[in-house]
Amino acid sequence: MYEHDVLIIGGGLAGLRAAVEVTRAGVDVAVISKVHPVRSHSNAAQGGINAPLTDRGDDWESHAYDTIKGSDFLADQNAVEIMSSEAGEAVLELERMGVIFSRGEDGKLGTRAFGGQKIARTVFVGAITGSAMLHVLFEQSLKLGLNVYEEWFVTKLIIEDDVCRGVVAIDIKTGEMHTIKAKAVIMAAGGAGRVFEPSTNALICTGDGLSLAYQAGVPLMDMEMIQYHPTTLARTGILMSEAARGEGAYLLNADGERFMEKTAPDYMELASRDVVSRAEQTEIDEGRGIDGNVLLDLRHLGREYIEAKLGYLQEVSVEFLGIDMAEQPVPVQPGMHYIMGGIKTDVDGATAMPGLYAAGECANVSVHGANRLGANSLLDTIIFGRRSATHAIEYIKGIGSHSKDESVLASEKARLQGLLDRPKGERVATIRDDMARGMTKGIGVFRDQASMEGALENLKNVKSRLGGFSIENKGKVFNTDLMFGLELEFMVDCAEAVVAGALTRKESRGAHFRTDMTERDDENWLKHTLMYKDDEAENGVRVETSDVKITQWEPVKRVY
């Protein structure tokens, strides 16, 4: 048994930012991550981080409004106000830690344009902003001597008297299982991209955090809000950053037209992501695509500019497609990328369960509402990572010492042994593929009652097979086979919540676009959906709703 005051699940941007904050306060903290922190999916964020800097003639309310408009007015405006007003300072702090952000002529932070915003306020490092930030936070963690349970896999939260008191986890390198008790747990375990196929997400993005909280009775909010990023590569789903469009790239259909003119004459390629993805999908569905793709054209930017500002994109294009972006346009299509939905938290990262906080992609404050603007996710991670930490530090002062109860460890060991002992059955990968393809098909860029019901049926079939998969690897050391089985169960929980939310929301808003109900219905649906795990309820999910917090900005029709 291990003990800490604060335990952070996940070593990505939200997790490490929280860890730095807790360490600075002199409080005992540890991070637990199923991969080494620098392997966290934060490193795949490319384009940049929004920073409304008031000394440059920008104002945070402008960013807040862009964010709220981008969210199709589903975001909680008080939360957005906090994020936007704290953003400038938070980004400057990152620079002071050592991030190598690009600069303007005056030597201060430079910016690029980004989707859904008229003012260029996205601060960046080439096309590797997420990686650059993650590595600097990792450097800071080394400087502070942060304790990391590296390559430990959390299988369950420890709940005692309805309060979160730690985790049960496997040390992947040895296969031994342990409890780690904590007075507060911050869930920063990232998104759930692998619930869909294809996806831009890494193979490790299996919704572990979302499921663990969900299983503990904490609601997941607005799970139907799944972001399809407009520029991903076919088959592999690899991401081509919005930064390309931010730097001036065009989107063309098979006729060579900049088709965004039709739906977003003002913002063009920099409209919000859901608008762009729908426009692309329409072109493709109506026969103006090329092999299921549209074209991302950077040729007019010139080779030198591309290599200086978008070097990583050129690398991906050349290595994975054999295409030189300075010479040829790149075929792209909408691909599942981000989940706006997540564990419901307040503006301090607190969830419905005392002792359990959440921050980053796994959380939903809500700042992104029904659609997230590009470069707001990196911002979300550091703002709410820090805020969760600040709140947790105070919270633990009122928490007593750890119990000696290890019963949950015994039951988890038995559960996992049970999985290992199963007779030869289906392969985990087969079930996961079926689930993920069904989810993409039914909960895609465009959806309707029939498609969503199709996803539900598919999911029911998948759930019926969960009792029959088997684990081939019976060993202890680095048993990724067992981990995949556990991850499949996590993913199914997430899928369940997504489908339930999608079938509940009877309108189109942001990323949830129903071809059978194309209009937004503020009167009835300016609400969040809340999914609770409930074995008594239909399909195992009980759905409730809650109001959206409006402060300054009355919802209006979104026009780009």
């Binding site: 080494h36 620098v38 392997r39 999916h41 450097e139 390198k173 890494a202």
Partner: protein, 322 residues
């Protein structure tokens, strides 16, 4: 264009659970999409053929650094290694874990030594003051650091480093490339201290043998050896002249200035250090052996024809940089 291609893999397996740890080779054959990478093929093996195969992978887009492993003897990031490039005629691919690191299981190596090396160079910004807003810096100075920032800590350079093969005390290419970033970062205040430490340390910048393996294998263009050479030049400029390495390069430089050619005898003596008796005595056997075979370099060195022109060239260039 066929729908699928056949990929043949021969993978080095290791299971520590068996008494003493068991190593063996295992062959697999899978059918994958023609554009597939080696990683796609390995995932296919893991998902459809053999769930006991252990390896690390995550992003599939060459940014997370998880999937370094040896393909036909040289370390590569398998997520961006296309099968048709390494096995154009369906040749069998030999897959092994990365080198110079302890193997945990199959293709998974421990990165403890790697991160210990990184830690040795104090890899975090050490500024001398904290500004109100941001530090000001030129865009060029920040873009210059991209070379090092592109490092995804995959461990491939360390895997194939020829010095680490014989000496685990060497800080290694990845850590030195990272150290370079801080010496070049205008916001860091410890440049001189860093250069001195890297210069003086056992296993520091002078232990690199300049074999270029790390430059060749790095999947992100970090070119660690080039960074190490820049560190050497910077260390010398900062006044660190106490190493054999310094004497070696200084002697070489001077020799060419004087003679247009290298004076090998002089070089050997200078590098050892004229007053370094043990090292000088060390040179005697080889000197004698060479003399016996009739090939001791002449004590009066060969000079290039018209070598005065070389001296004049040096003086012109040195004069300019003053």
């Amino acid at each position: 264009m066929p729908d699928t291609i056949k990929v043949k893999l021969k993978i080095k397996r290791f299971d520590p659970a068996e008494a003493g740890g068991k190593t063996w080779w295992q062959e697999y054959e899978v059918d994958v999409h023609p554009d597939s990478t080696v990683l796609d093929s390995l995932i296919e093996v893991r998902e459809q053929e053999d769930g006991t195969l252990a390896m690390r992978c995550a992003c599939r887009a060459s940014i997370c650094g998880s999937c370094g492993m040896k393909v036909n003897g040289g370390a590569k990031l398998v997520c961006k290694t296309r099968v048709i490039d390494v096995a154009p005629n369906g040749e069998q691919l030999i897959i092994e874990p990365m080198g110079n690191q302890h193997v945990v299981k199959d293709l998974v190596v421990s990165l403890d030594a790697f991160f210990a090396q990184i830690n040795r160079v104090e890899p975090f910004l050490q500024p001398s003051f904290v500004p109100e807003a941001e530090y000001t810096a030129t865009n060029d100075s920040m873009e210059n650091l991209l070379t090092s920032m592109n490092c995804i800590m995959c461990g491939i350079c360390v895997s194939d480093c020829t010095v680490l093969e014989v000496d685990s005390n060497f800080i290694g290419p990845a850590a030195l490339a990272k150290a370079w970033r801080f010496t070049e970062d205008p916001r860091d205040s410890k440049r001189d201290e860093r250069l001195k430490a890297l210069n003086d340390e056992d296993g520091g910048i002078w232990d690199c043998t300049r074999c270029m393996k790390c430059v060749d294998v790095c999947p992100k263009g970090v070119a660690p050896m080039d960074r190490i050479m820049e560190l050497r030049e910077a260390a010398i400029e900062a006044g660190n002249t106490n190493t054999h390495g310094y004497h070696h390069t200084e002697s070489f430089y001077k020799s060419v200035k004087k003679n247009g050619r290298l004076d090998e005898t002089r070089l050997a003596i200078d590098s050892a250090g004229m007053f370094n008796i043990p090292r000088m005595l060390d040179l005697v056997p080889i000197g004698l052996a060479a003399m016996r075979k009739g090939k001791l370099p002449p004590l009066m060195p060969h000079k290039a024809e018209d070598h005065k022109k070389v001296r004049e060239l040096y003086e012109r260039v040195e004069g300019e940089s003053k």
